[in-house]
Amino acid sequence: MKSFALITVILTGWLLLSAVSDFPSWGDTESPANDYRLSQHYITETFPESSVPNMVTAVLADYRGYDTMFETVVIFVAGIAIMSILRRKPLDYLKDTGRETRSYKKDPDLIIDTTCRLMIPIIQLFALYVVAHGHHSPGGGFQGGVIFGASFILLALSRDLQAAQRWVPEKRVLNLAGIGILIYSGFGFACMILGSNFLDYEILHKIMPATPVEARSHSMLGVEIGVAFTCTAIMFSIYSNLASNGDMKETL
Amino acid sequence: MPSSLTSFTPVLATLVSLLAVLPIVLLGKRPNLREGATFLAAFIKFGLVVSMLPTILAGSTIEFTVWKIVPNLAIAFRVDGLGMLFGLVASSLWIVTSLYSIGYMRGLKEHSQTRFFTFFAISLSATIGVAFAANLFTLYLFYEMLSLATYPLVTHHQDKEARTGGRTYLTYLLSTSIGFVLPALIFVYVKTGSNMEFSNSGFLSGHITASEALILLLLFAFGFAKSGLMPFHSWLPGAMVAPTPVSALLHAVAVVKVGVFCILRVFTGVFGTDYLQDLDIATVVAWIAAFTVVVSSLIALTQDNLKRRLAFSTVGQLSYIILGAALLSDRAVTGSMTHIAMHAVGKITLFMCAGAIFVATGKKYISQMDGLGRKMPITFAAFSIGALSVIGLPPTGGLISKFYLVTGAMDADQTALLVIFLISTILNAAYLLPIGYRAFFPKDAQLANQPFSWKTTEEANWQCITPLSITAVLAILLFIKPQFLLQLAGLMVGTNG
């Protein structure tokens, strides 16, 4: 196996290297990728067309919004997939286990507990900022969602899984994740119902107090929130399933 | 080309037995009605075929295009002389065999009779479909259909023997048709780009080179393995595990005749005899056929199982037909076409006799049949007539076709092949005549001295006896009135034989 791997790697590497001489140099502003009308359009026209200064967000949520919707679905799929692969017993997330079994595995460490108590609200607040301010600064739904999810993971780490489950029991996780995608696709379907193409936010100005250009910007915020919902929920779900080997009781 | 009519009749003639499947299956629990349906379909089919006869004899053809299935290629029907001839044989013999199989199946209380009659009917549809196919593609379609529809018939007993026989059967037929015919077919299609419609002068001429032609010819000759050309013949004796009516109709008449019919079609309709003559490649096939004739006759001599002996005889007789076609002279081709009919009538008589003997006495082996003629005089009389026809002796139709074949060989200046014909005729006589002779005149003195009386006969039931008598009479009738057959064959070769 080792020699086979070596041969494969050498062959593939050689093949890939053979094209390097053909590539533009590092940082070349004239390279086709950077010079083609596609990239130019995104840089110069994003703001006029959607009044969003952050081009990455605009490309993500508007020009390639369809891609991003499926990106969210990828996360969603990962969550469900991990759950369905690992779960052995009938899903007991239907029961609201959080409140009754609120017993800590061990005595919480004072320093850790207090630090996390202080940190978690700040982390969550920052997550919300990242989501909401994604138009103007680096950030957006994925980043914000992941940070938000991390806050719950921190909670689970500092105490135990049950404590975090109190806030986000599994049932809620799934619902949140589904609702997130529903929000995203809801924007799309709303456009369809109003007679335009899927995710063509411009038409939404009819039901929004905004101009067509602003409608794009507002809708982007909306879909980012949807993304954040899904991300938050699934990040925590992935952690809790992997950490407890799928039975949601004790962490490894 | 004489005029051609468009009519739905050939399609109907093909479909009628396929449609009969429905009542047969539905009436499965009520055997009398079920067999009624079979008969009705058989008569309608025969009627439909006969209704087309005057038109064909008048020199025109009947055509119908069902639908285009591949670009430039349609499922189409066309009735001409050769197709008519074969259609007549198959549909008329179906009636007789239906009667016979009812007697046989009930006599032996076979299981799954509904399935039997269902696939019997489907096979007939396929046979008529082959007969009336207008192009190579349609021909192939029905050819494959026949292979599959006969599988449940061959393996009817569902025992170990049937399993082996059925396996050989399908292996040979499917592997040759998929392995040889299909590529040849597509090759022809690619090269000509045409609809592959049969015509009296062939359509390949000018599209392919001589070496390609030879390969194609061999692919077709071996690919239609139903014709039993050696070395692809051994499915035929293997398939004799089937119930006798199946052997009778399908393996002496429908299946094997479909094989030779296809080869005749390829020779006359695809290549055209003139083109083959120009290329001078048919001799290869002729010699393979000649080899098959002699070898199979020799093998037949050694067989003790009656059905197996008949099977090898069939292998030989089929090669006569191929040989006749490969001689390419008008008379030889006429002879081989008529031989389809003559041999069919003769051989079916023989098979039905074998079946009747089995039903009445349970005997399968020739060595057990000494003196049996006294107990079953009608059966053995019919057997003898059938034997005469297969050998080609008067007063039976076999003489007519043999005559044409032999004179055709002279026309083609193939003296060596002529000799083969004669040798094989002697061999035919050697393996068929003693059976009848010993049945009536046993060596065993005790048996020989028994007085004969109608009261001591132990014939099989009437459903078995009637059909074989009819075919025996038919064999004689064809000697007296062979004109219409010759006329049909003549339509194909351009002379009015």
Partner: protein, 157 residues
């Protein structure tokens, strides 16, 4: 000399290919299922590096418009000074756009970043599912060494 130049100006490609091959080697040759997944992660990350390095432009900044491009309070206040509405006036979108001057070379190419956000997400998802499968395999076979698992399947037969 040429090679050196190629190395210095195109080092990003060399790096990505080397990293990628390390990952690929681990994926194929490692016996431990988790190590394979680590290899997979390296492999995917290399592709991300490749894409992101495509979008790099010399002298460009992140692809977000400057604050004063979008909020051109200065430029406007001079223009509108005589009307006396400096404080209250919020220029409309159209007005901003009309005066907007964007030099494409100032900003990095946004597209690779967007694409790689997707690739990152896919990488996370795949890694997660892979780990879940590994856990289940461990549960079922009691090992995460491929050879041992195959051995136990063979002996079970």
């Amino acid at each position: 000399m040429e090679l050196l130049e190629a190395l210095s100006t195109k080092f990003n490609y060399w790096i990505y290919i080397i990293i990628m091959m390390i990952g690929l080697y681990a994926m194929i040759s490692k016996n431990n299922l988790v190590k394979k997944l680590i290899g997979m992660s390296i492999f995917q990350t290399a592709i991300i590096l490749f894409y992101v390095s495509i979008g790099v432009k010399e002298g460009a900044t992140i692809p977000i418009l400057y604050h004063d491009q979008v909020h051109p309070s200065h430029g406007y206040s001079h223009h509108k000074a005589d009307t006396g509405h400096i404080e209250d006036h919020h220029p409309s979108h159209e007005e901003i756009v009309a005066n907007l001057l964007i030099e494409p070379d100032d900003f990095g190419n946004p597209l690779p970043h967007v694409l790689m956000l997707t690739a990152i997400v896919v990488g996370v998802a795949t890694l997660g599912v892979g780990l879940a499968l590994t856990q289940k395999i461990y549960r079922d076979f009691g090992s995460i060494e491929e050879s041992e698992i195959l051995e136990s399947i063979k002996s079970a037969k």
